[in-house]
């Protein structure tokens, strides 16, 4: 057909550095320091163990519904590129990234145990709190990044969201705003193959999620999201681009949600055990551990030592959290932080609750 082809800029590429067996593609080695490599390893192990611990606590009824991150620990590769004053704009499945950026485990436990206090933001870090309305937070990252640009600062805003989130209008608007205003925002899509029971293939018809970046003429790349080095390398490129004023980047991290969607979910309804097992081989921690062993940075003893160390840390955090609970925080705290000043009629409602509390305590 003699129609004219239109040449489109940008193409979509795929990046993988460490394969499933921990073998490194040397040409692509981001050459991280040994110290950083070890830190990444430790953080991934900590996240895995803490996730397991949370699951236990949930099953024991000590905390409520939460979204496990098992299998997605290589997300740490992305935030490892950031400075504390860069912005992290997470969804609800970035516990590993949050821990890396100072979030206290006891706060995470409190949040999922139903205490607003768990929302505490780690000092010195620009982390937004967990955002549950899918996709909605991506716009905040775009706006923050604009403010950074306007203030001529060097920060970036990195937002995380799932494969399902790419279906939301807000995602589209965020990508478009970010591209139009060329802001230093990094869009990290955690394509973990499932949005609760809906598989990636049914969420959208496109072959990749990365290609959605073309709609906004934004650089987009697909990376092996279980390869912490690939995630790091892609994020580094994107962050550098952002800091040097070259605008936003979209990164699709192909990973897998190895656990339940949330603890209220039963994946047996919609996916096979085999599928899950297929991904065990691609586990981000095992392959990274193999790589470190090959590099002689890691041996059996050190693996054990790391695990013990993080288990100790977790135990301490759980202890601090239990102490927090024992202090049974005042329910009147629900009236805090609504607005800078509580309006009189709400103040009055607070008094109603206070009176009721007093009455309850005073016998009855």
């Amino acid at each position: 057909m003699p129609r004219k082809d239109i040449n489109l800029p940008y193409k979509i590429q795929y990046l993988s550095i460490l394969d499933e067996n921990g073998k490194l593609d040397k040409k692509l080695d981001p050459n991280l320091s040994e110290d950083l490599l070890m830190k990444l390893y430790r953080a991934m192990v900590l996240s895995r163990k803490f996730d397991e611990r949370m699951l236990t606590l949930q099953r024991q009824g000590k905390i409520g519904t939460f979204a496990p991150i098992k299998g997605q620990e290589a997300q740490i590769g992305a935030v490892a590129v950031l400075e504390p004053d860069d912005w992290l704009v997470p969804s609800f499945r970035e516990m590993a990234a949050e821990l890396w950026r100072g979030k206290k485990m006891e706060n995470i436990l409190s949040l999922y145990a139903g205490y607003n206090e768990g929302g505490e933001i780690p000092e010195g870090f620009n982390n937004l709190p967990v955002s549950i309305p899918v996709g909605s937070q991506t716009l905040h990252a775009a706006g923050i990044a604009y403010a950074i640009r306007y203030r001529k600062q060097k920060q970036v805003a990195m937002t995380f969201f799932g494969d399902g989130a790419t279906s939301e209008g807000d995602f589209h608007e965020a990508m478009n705003f970010a591209a139009v205003f060329q802001v230093p925002a990094i869009f990290i899509c955690q394509n973990n193959h499932w949005a609760i029971s809906v598989p990636r293939s049914h969420q959208t018809r496109s072959k990749t999620l990365a290609q959605k970046a073309l709609a906004y003429e934004m650089p987009g790349i697909q990376v092996d999201g279980n390869d912490v080095l690939a995630v790091y390398a892609a994020a580094k490129e994107a962050v550098d681009r952002g800091r040097s004023g070259e605008g936003p980047t979209f990164i699709e991290c192909v990973t897998y949600r190895m656990s339940v969607h949330t603890t209220a979910d039963d994946p047996k309804k919609y996916r096979s055990e085999e599928e899950v097992e297929g991904w065990v081989k691609k586990d981000p921690i095992t392959r990274f551990e193999k790589y470190l062993r090959d590099k002689n940075l890691m041996d059996d003893d050190q693996v054990k030592a790391t695990e013990e160390e993080v288990s100790g840390e977790i135990k301490e955090a759980v202890g601090r959290w239990e102490d927090f609970i024992k202090k049974t925080p005042d329910p009147l705290s629900m009236f805090e932080h609504l607005l800078e000043e509580l309006p009189p009629h709400v103040e009055q409602q607070r008094e109603e609750l206070k009176a009721e509390q007093a009455q309850r305590k005073g016998g009855k």
Partner: protein, 326 residues
């Protein structure tokens, strides 16, 4: 008659309406294979196939707007918002189109859709999973806003909502999903939209409520009878809009004293409208100010403080007592 939970009763309504009318479609996030995160749509996909029980992409405005389209072409979509807290993503589709296409087309088209959503607190859920914002929809001309309170009336009202030629927002009090069982007849049963009911008769004071709060009110009424010898009449609104102001006005005229109870924030909530109607219709009969026992005008807290936020039995009792003591 089988004893059913509200989840089962709603499922029965969907099942039977889908059997009866091949234009009835179910769509939403995870409503198909997963049967919905509360299992309300369980087994529907097995029975009716993925063309009629559709797992959609994750987009609420999409779901609502797509449903409007389906309805325009003669189908009867019953779409689900996974939680009412995400229905505001679709607010513009509901306000600008579902509510208006009949009028805009001078009656040539209409939008017989139902938008179902679990709403309200009490299930120890995450943020955005416990809101009660029925007033947004009730304030929108062209929409109907229905909230059942028991398995049986949930089933009957949902059937009516599906058959209704106009858009119905159907909020399901998720705290009641599995709270208790009730006999639900296998045979078809409907309840008129726009009519409330007397849930308990009494002569001393009227409490007007709906949804999960109704059950706190019922318990409070029992206790007040026991402890104070007071006979509380309880009105269950069932439909928030159009509001049936006849039944509660009539009750108020008899008792002279009224309390309104709901878990939504107090200000600009449904309670205010009830009071306004009472003032308009039954002013001279009111012997005491109508009290509101409601959620506070704050963001509903996470679950540890949720029970202090929600208007429970004690708070209703106190409200009634103050109203009687006035």
């Amino acid at each position: 008659m089988a004893k059913m939970t509200m989840v089962q009763a709603i499922n029965l309504a969907l099942m039977q309406e889908m059997e009866k009318d091949d234009g009835v479609m179910v769509l939403g996030e995870d409503v198909g294979k997963d049967g919905g995160v509360f299992r309300v749509t369980d087994n529907l996909m097995d029975k009716f196939g993925p063309e009629r029980v559709m797992d959609t992409p994750l987009a609420e405005s999409g779901i609502a707007g797509f449903s409007i389209g389906m309805a325009l072409h003669g189908l009867k979509p019953v779409c689900e918002m996974q939680f009412s807290g995400f229905s505001y993503f679709a607010m513009h589709q509901l306000e600008a189109h579902a509510a208006r296409l009949r009028g805009r087309s001078l009656g040539r088209f209409h939008v017989p859709m139902v938008l179902r959503a679990p709403y309200g607190g009490g299930v120890r859920a995450l943020e955005h999973h416990s809101e009660s914002r029925e007033a947004y929809f009730a304030h929108t001309p062209g929409l109907k806003m229905v909230i059942p309170s028991t398995p049986r009336n949930a089933r009957a009202l949902l059937v009516s909502a599906i058959r209704d030629p106009d858009p119905v927002i159907f909020f399901e009090p998720k705290a009641l999903y599995r709270a208790f069982r009730e006999e639900v007849p296998e045979d078809e049963e409907t309840l008129p939209i726009g009519k409330s009911r007397i849930a308990r008769e009494g002569k001393d004071v009227t409490v007007i409520s709906y949804g999960a709060t109704l059950h706190s009110v019922m318990e409070a009424a029992e206790k007040l009878e026991e402890e104070d010898g007071v006979q509380v009449e309880v009105i269950d609104l069932l439909t928030i809009s159009p509001l049936d102001d006849e039944l509660f006005s009539e009750s108020a005229r008899r008792t002279g004293r009224v309390v309104v109870a709901h878990e939504a924030p107090r200000s600009f909530g449904a309670g205010a409208e009830v009071i306004a109607r009472l003032v308009e219709k039954s002013f001279l009969y009111l012997e005491a100010p109508v009290r509101r026992v409601t959620g506070f005008d704050i963001v509903i807290p996470l679950y540890q403080r949720e029970m202090d936020y929600l208007p429970g039995v004690n708070r209703v009792m106190q409200g009634v007592r103050e109203t009687l003591d006035f």
